[in-house]
């Protein structure tokens, strides 16, 4: 596989609202392999969402480059799909119409759109809700629709911005497991932003910890969990606990107030 790798080099992002400049990201270099699941954690305001939106092409880099499959990105593209924390579903479209949107834009025929969309709707356990509007759905269902909508147009890279942050624990866990199944089956590259260390370690193959603002790569913790085990076995394994603690400690150093000499 050679599709969906991301290369970030010397990335810098400065927000300039005219009155003052805020440096959100500074000199960040990081490579993500195709098919990899990378978690990103960092103190709040460290620029992790900015990083995601820069990769998505929604924001322009101030300096440095982001390349996908060796090509520097130029604005948003259908090779990348974002899943937002607030779902960002089109409220005037039904579940089916939301999921077919990307295919519609690619000029796919109506029958094919519907059958493809139906496959992802079923994959996300949304069968029977095709004709409902987003306002009629619970938060967990909305996020499943948003994931189905992004999967339907088949981007190589999934960029997820705290997608389960607004959901309660049991729902998060079931969506996490669903996401892992999808990642394995569909061989996507996933960049997953979260403030939850346990979530990052449970889902990812590597976790990047960012420094406080201006954010940059502090350290990357690679680990190798045995994915054949079930959730309970994984989260109670020594490897999981040790990894979680080391990520937590590293993050803790960034969130603690600086020690005065």
């Amino acid at each position: 596989m050679s599709d969906g790798d991301i290369s970030i080099s010397n990335l810098e992002k400065v927000y300039d609202d005219g009155a003052e400049k805020t440096k959100a990201i500074e000199d960040l270099s990081f490579d993500i392999d195709s098919g990899e699941f990378v978690g990103v954690v960092g103190p709040s305001g460290c620029g992790k969402s900015s990083l995601l939106y820069l990769i998505a092409g929604f924001l322009e880099t101030t300096d440095g480059t982001i390349s996908v499959d060796g090509e520097p990105i130029d604005g948003p593209g259908t090779d990348r799909g974002v899943v937002f924390q607030d779902y960002a579903l089109f409220p005037w479209r039904t579940v089916m119409e939301n999921v077919t949107y990307g295919l519609e834009e690619q000029g796919v025929s109506k029958e094919e759109r519907r059958s493809t969309a139906q496959r992802y709707i079923d994959m996300m356990d949304l069968g029977g809700f095709e004709d409902r509007y987003p306002k009629e759905l619970s938060g967990g269902m909305k996020q499943r629709v948003a994931i189905a909508r992004t999967l339907a147009y088949d981007p190589k890279i999934l960029l997820m911005d705290e997608p389960f942050g607004a959901l309660d624990q049991p729902l998060r866990e079931s969506l996490q497991d669903q996401l892992l199944d999808i990642w394995r089956d569909l061989e996507k590259t996933v960049v997953f932003i979260t403030h939850d260390v346990e979530e990052a370690v449970y889902l990812s193959e590597r976790v990047m910890i960012m420094t406080r603002r201006p954010g940059t790569k502090k350290t990357v913790v690679p680990f190798d969990l045995d994915r054949s085990l079930d959730r309970e076995e994984i989260i109670t394994s020594d490897k999981f606990v040790t990894t979680k603690n080391s990520v937590w400690k590293s993050l803790r150093e960034e969130t603690q107030p600086e020690v005065q000499p």
Partner: protein, 263 residues
């Protein structure tokens, strides 16, 4: 009469709630009508304040002879054209201003100037320009309705959820298509709110213009009846136009709720 919740009627069985609410809603009006009936001819001379019964008889008479309908038709035509034009212009201008800084800068000063002017005060000017009849009435209705429609479209189109726009972009929507597929659908509920606000304003402007600058229409009928001292006829015409305006607002609300089922 909009009622979002059933309030304290919630304790009643559901099938009685609607009927009960209907009765409760109309009780204040019923009380006023009853007091009016007693006051007329006792506290206030009956020719100055004709009783509801007299007015009702007068309305029945107006409807029976059919005399009112040609005037009502003229008034509704003016209402429709004026409101229709203000929707066409207001939505385009509102969305244009929200999405383009040059358009916003150009029109901003005119809106700020138009905003505090009572649109009814423009009737003499409209007469000067367009004479008497449909022209000035349409112009005044148009101007009066323009602001609520522009303001609602402008605010909504400028405030479309960034993530919705990004979602569309990541799926390949660009340029003008973003307007058609995201900005306009996201703005529609607010455009409808603007139109809902404009309907009563349109009737105010319409009747005001017809009182001064018309030989037809309900406003003219009200003035004419007053001038000949037929106050029960004047009241009858006022009640008819109020009922028509109320019916339009209610009808529009019902239609709106069916169109934007997704809100």
């Amino acid at each position: 009469m909009a009622h979002a919740d059933t309030g304290s009627l919630g304790v009643l069985p559901r099938r009685f709630q609607h009927a009960t609410r209907l009765i409760v809603d109309w009780i204040p009006l019923a009380i006023v009508v009853v007091l009016w009936e007693f006051a007329s001819g006792t506290a206030v001379p009956a020719d100055v304040l004709p009783s509801p019964v007299t007015v009702s008889v007068q309305i029945a008479d107006l409807l029976a002879t059919g005399e009112i309908f040609s005037h009502l038709f003229v008034s509704l035509f003016r209402f429709g054209v004026g409101l229709g034009l203000s929707i066409a212009v207001g939505v385009v201008l509102g969305i244009g201003m929200a999405r383009s800084a040059p358009i916003e800068n150009f029109f901003d000063v005119f809106l700020s100037m138009l905003y505090p002017i009572p649109k009814v005060a423009l009737v003499p000017l409209a007469m000067l320009w367009l004479g008497v009849g449909t022209g000035p009435a349409v112009l005044v209705v148009f101007l009066a309705c323009l602001l609520p429609i522009i303001m609602n479209s402008y605010n909504a189109a400028g405030d479309v959820d960034q993530n919705l726009v990004w979602s569309a972009k990541m799926m390949g929507t660009e340029g003008w298509e973003l307007l058609r597929k995201v900005v306009i659908p996201a703005t529609i509920p607010h455009i409808l709110t603007g139109i809902r606000q404009a309907i009563p304003i349109a009737f105010i402007a319409l009747v005001s213009a017809e009182l001064v600058a018309s030989y037809e229409g309900i406003g003219y009928l009200i003035l004419e009846a007053g001038q000949v001292g037929n106050y029960s006829l004047m009241f009858a015409n006022i009640v008819v136009i109020s009922a028509v305006a109320y019916a339009f607002v209610t009808g529009f609300e019902i239609a709106r709720d069916r169109v934007v089922v997704w809100t």
